[in-house]
C-alpha cells in the first residue's frame, strides 16, 4: 500500500465520517474497509460512493444470524482506480425481511437480489423481477440458506437414494444393471 493511497483513503474516511455519522467502521484491513450502516442510510451512502469512484458492485451476500433474529446483507464495492474495497453491512429483522432495492443505483444488482430473494426469502421492495426464480425452479420449501432449513431432511424426503454395500478389493465391483 502506497503513501498516496493512504492519504486518499484517510481523506475519504474523514469525509465519510462527517457525512454519515451513523456509519461505524468495523474493520480496516488496509485495502478493505467494513462499515456497519443503518438500512435507511444505504441508498445515500451507495450513491455517494458510486460518485466517488466505487463504480463496481462486486456482489451482495446474505448472512443469517438466527440467534439474534437478524439477516445481514453485505454490499461489496470496488474502486479500480485506488484498488480499495468497501463492504457495507446492514442488519434487518428476520421475520418478514424487507429492504429497498438498489437496482436504481447499481443496475447489476438485479441478479444478486434475485438470488438473495431465492436463498434467504428477503424481499426487495421495488424490484419485481427479484421474485422470479433463478436456480431453484418450482421450489417448495423454506429458502434453503436459512439456518433453520434442514438440507439433509429435505433431500431424504424429496430425492430417491441409492443404498448398497460396497465390496472392497479386487473381487469387488458388482456388474452394472439398469434398474
Amino acid at each position: 500500500m502506497t503513501n498516496s493511497m493512504n492519504s486518499v483513503k484517510a481523506r475519504w474516511a474523514a469525509q465519510m465520517r462527517g457525512m454519515f455519522p451513523d456509519a461505524r467502521l468495523k474493520k480496516d484491513r488496509g485495502t478493505e474497509m467494513t462499515y456497519e450502516i443503518l438500512p435507511r442510510d444505504l441508498h445515500q451512502i451507495l450513491a455517494y460512493l458510486k460518485n466517488s469512484g466505487w463504480r463496481q458492485l462486486s456482489m451482495i451476500t446474505g448472512v443469517d444470524w438466527i440467534e439474534e433474529g437478524q439477516f445481514e446483507l453485505v454490499y461489496n464495492l470496488f474502486d479500480w482506480e485506488q484498488g480499495l474495497r468497501v463492504l457495507l453491512s446492514i442488519r434487518i429483522g428476520r421475520d418478514k425481511p424487507q429492504v429497498l432495492t438498489i437496482t436504481n443505483i447499481y443496475a447489476g444488482a438485479q441478479y444478486y437480489e434475485r438470488e438473495i430473494h431465492e436463498f434467504f426469502g428477503i424481499e426487495f421492495i421495488g424490484n419485481e423481477d427479484a421474485l422470479k426464480s433463478l436456480f431453484l425452479e418450482r421450489w417448495d420449501a423454506l429458502p434453503p440458506l436459512r439456518k433453520d432449513f434442514d438440507s439433509r431432511a429435505y433431500s431424504d424426503k424429496k430425492y430417491v437414494k441409492r443404498f448398497y454395500d460396497p465390496v472392497y478389493g479386487p473381487q469387488g465391483g458388482a456388474p452394472f444393471e439398469r434398474s
Binding site: F135, E137, R138, S155, Y159, V160, K161, S179
Partner: protein, 207 residues
C-alpha cells in the same frame, strides 16, 4: 420442309431388358438385418461426436482429454457444438434441480443412436452432495446411463479408458440406453416428473 434428323447421340440408347435369375437366399432376412446392424455399429463406434454438458466439477478433466497429451481425437471422438449433431452426452457430475430439466431437453433433442456417459460418484448416488437440497442423487432414474466413469473427479486416464470401454460397448451392441429410453419412456417420464415437478422450462430464454 422435312424434319432434320438429329445425330444419333441425341437419342437415348435403348437397351434390351434382361431378366436375371436371383440367386437362392442363403441368409434369412433376420440374419441380413443383424449383419447390417453390425456394420452400422462398427461405423458408429469409430466416429463419436460428444456434447459435454458440464453440470459439475468433473468437467475440469475434459480439456486434458481433448488436447494434445491424451488427444481423444485418435479414438475418433470430437466435441460438438449442438445436441442435434452429437452422439454422446457427457454428464460431468451432479444433476441439480435446474440442470436436470435442461439435460432432458438436450437428450431428447439428440438423434438416435445416442449414448449417455456419467462422470463421478455424483451421478451414481449423489457423491459428496448426497444431502444437498438441489442435487438429484441418481441420474439413471431420469436418463439411461450407458457408462459410469469412476473417480471424483476421474483422471484423464480414467476418462480415456472409459471412452475406450464405451467404444467396445457400442461395437458389441451393448450400449442400448437409447432403446431403453424409447421402450420405457413412461417410466422415465414418471421419475422425471416426480423429481422436478414439470419438465418444461420457464425462464427468460425459453418463454
Amino acid at each position: 420442309m422435312p424434319k432434320k434428323q438429329l445425330p444419333s447421340r441425341f437419342y437415348p440408347v435403348k437397351h434390351e431388358m434382361q431378366t436375371v435369375e436371383a440367386p437362392a437366399e442363403k441368409i434369412s432376412p433376420q440374419q441380413r438385418a443383424e449383419t447390417w446392424e453390425k456394420i452400422a455399429q462398427y461405423f458408429r463406434a469409430n466416429s463419436l461426436w460428444m456434447l459435454n454438458y458440464c453440470t459439475g466439477c468433473c468437467a475440469i478433466e475434459l480439456p486434458l482429454v481433448m488436447t494434445s497429451r491424451f488427444d481423444m481425437e485418435r479414438l475418433g471422438m470430437m466435441p460438438m457444438a449442438t445436441p442435434r449433431q452429437a452422439d454422446i452426452l457427457l454428464v460431468t457430475g451432479y444433476a441439480s434441480l435446474k440442470t436436470l430439466r435442461r439435460l432432458i431437453y438436450t437428450y431428447e433433442q439428440m438423434g438416435t443412436p445416442k449414448y449417455v456417459v456419467a462422470f463421478g460418484p455424483c451421478a451414481v448416488n449423489g457423491g459428496i452432495y448426497h444431502d444437498a437440497y438441489a442435487v438429484l442423487n441418481r441420474l439413471d432414474l431420469y436418463l439411461p446411463v450407458d457408462l459410469y466413469i469412476a473417480g471424483c473427479m476421474p483422471k484423464p486416464e480414467a476418462v480415456m479408458s472409459g471412452f475406450m470401454k464405451l467404444i467396445e460397448l457400442i461395437e458389441s451392441g451393448k450400449a442400448t440406453g437409447w432403446k431403453d429410453y424409447e421402450q420405457r419412456y413412461e417410466w422415465y417420464k414418471k421419475n422425471q416428473l416426480e423429481a422436478v415437478g414439470e419438465v418444461f422450462i420457464h425462464d427468460e430464454f425459453h418463454e
